[in-house]
């Protein structure tokens, strides 16, 4: 078992310092990169999709050197890839490992899907209450309409 783990890790080389986002649904890897603005990231960025996973069949992984995500960014990851695990690496060692969590309140990061919502027409921040964590449904504090997973875009 331990041996197999090592072989799997080798598919994406280890990083010395930074963050690993593991257990991302394969189809969401590029979306995670996009919403975290990692396309312009100046340091080492390693990624893989369609890796075998006991837990989820196929999975993706992203390793970001010298990057430690702030809560705002972790919330974004949770909205796109609720199954993801976030691992903090220092000196090649795992110093922290946690499952991301869909927050109860989502502030600033999601755009309201309603074009007539005041948040899309005034310089202001958005604010949603998560009313369904599983299906991912967010109720806008302002227009009270529901932004769901399918029509969710990020700021």
């Amino acid at each position: 078992m331990a041996k197999k783990e090592i072989r799997k890790e080798l598919k994406v080389s280890a990083i010395e310092n930074g963050s690993v986002i593991d257990h991302i649904p394969s189809q969401s890897v590029f979306q995670v990169i996009r919403i975290l603005n990692l396309t312009e990231y100046p340091n080492q960025l390693l990624l893989a999709t369609n890796l075998e996973s006991q837990k989820m069949g196929k999975k993706g992984i992203i390793k970001v050197s010298n990057k430690f995500f702030v809560p705002q960014e972790i919330n974004k990851i949770a909205l796109v890839a609720p199954s993801a695990t976030l691992i903090v690496i220092r000196d090649f060692n795992v110093t922290e490992k946690k499952q991301v969590k869909v927050p109860a309140q989502v502030e600033k990061i999601v755009k309201c899907f309603n074009p007539n919502c005041i948040t899309n027409n005034e310089e202001m921040e958005t604010h949603f209450t998560v009313i369904d964590k599983k299906e991912l449904k967010l109720r806008c504090k302002y227009c009270e309409k529901i932004t769901a997973k399918d029509n969710m875009t990020f700021i």
Partner: protein
């Protein structure tokens, strides 16, 4: 309720709704009282609405408050591109309470976060219009003597009608049976039905208006708007099926009343107006008393 903004019907508890209705009764008995003489009320209508604005202004005037504001944005700095944030921040310096209507959904909630003085939402796009809901509650309690255990029929555009959504939600507190009559394309959204189910209440859906007439304590009519249909032929097919005519009222309960948020187009035939069941014009008058109760309690003059 002092200094509390009213943006959404659920901002006030059911107990606070009842308190407003009780106060409105007092104002109906004595509509002219100069209890708000020291206050300035601003009515900001970023979108025209004659009825709602005049009803608020009448309510405030009868209580002696002074009024400032505008009835359409054309004559204001908005035309120059001023943000809502700046408009509210400025006008809240000039007034003790702001009544506002705005075409964007969520605008009133946002204004209440900016403004140091309380806001009453007089309609934010297709979202909320809580003072309409309170005057509907008042009208129903007044005509039926109670709010509990009523059979309420909602007719017409149940999908887009915000007054229907808010009123259904308010009545979820009162063991109501809902009769929902609409064309297939304009049924009550599932997000609203969810509230009915949460309270374990019953609703029945119909496409035939005549069927609900004998069952209802209240018939709440709404207008079906042509622009809601993508196919004009679909509109032509249904437009006359949701028109209430005098002869249809024969089997109705004698205590039944017909409500309508107005303006009416053709969904209630003129010959219904003379029937004692027609209540929609009195309903509009009740709006003044309910708004007096809101102004007085939010400004802290009555508790």
């Amino acid at each position: 309720m002092k200094n509390k903004s009213l943006i959404s019907i659920n901002d006030f508890t059911p107990e606070e709704h009842i308190r407003i209705l009780d106060l409105a009764e007092d104002f109906e008995r004595r509509p002219t009282q100069r209890i708000l003489e020291e206050f300035v009320v601003a009515t900001l209508f970023f979108e025209p609405s004659t009825r709602t604005r005049l009803s608020f202004e009448s309510a405030a005037s009868r209580l002696g408050a002074r009024l400032i504001g505008f009835s359409e944005p054309a004559s204001t700095s908005l035309q120059k591109g001023e943000s809502l944030r700046d408009t509210i921040r400025t006008i809240s310096n000039y007034s003790d309470l702001i009544v506002m209507r705005h075409p964007r959904e969520g605008s009133a909630r946002f204004a209440s976060e900016i403004s140091p003085v309380p806001i009453i939402n007089a309609g934010d796009g297709a979202n909320q219009h809580p003072t309409q809901t309170l005057l509907d509650l008042y009208s129903i309690r007044k005509t039926q003597g109670k709010l509990d255990n009523l059979e309420i029929a909602f007719i017409g555009d149940l999908k887009y009608g915000r007054t229907v959504h808010s009123l259904v939600m308010a009545f979820c507190n009162y063991n109501t049976t809902f009769h929902l009559v609409s064309p297939e394309a304009l049924k009550l959204p599932s997000s609203v039905k969810m509230h009915i189910k949460e309270k374990n209440l019953t609703y029945h859906q119909y496409t035939d208006l005549q069927e609900v007439v004998p069952k209802a304590d209240i018939i709440y009519m709404t207008r079906i708007q042509k622009e809601r249909f993508s196919d004009p032929i679909d509109y032509e097919k249904v437009k006359n099926s949701y028109v209430l005519k005098r002869q249809m009222l024969e089997g109705a309960k004698s205590t039944m009343k017909i409500l309508h948020p107005l303006p009416r187009v053709n969904e209630i035939a003129i010959d219904v107006d003379a029937n004692p069941m027609a209540y929609y014009f009195t309903q509009a008058l009740n709006g003044v008393f309910v708004r007096q109760a809101l102004l007085a309690s939010i400004l802290g003059v009555v508790a």
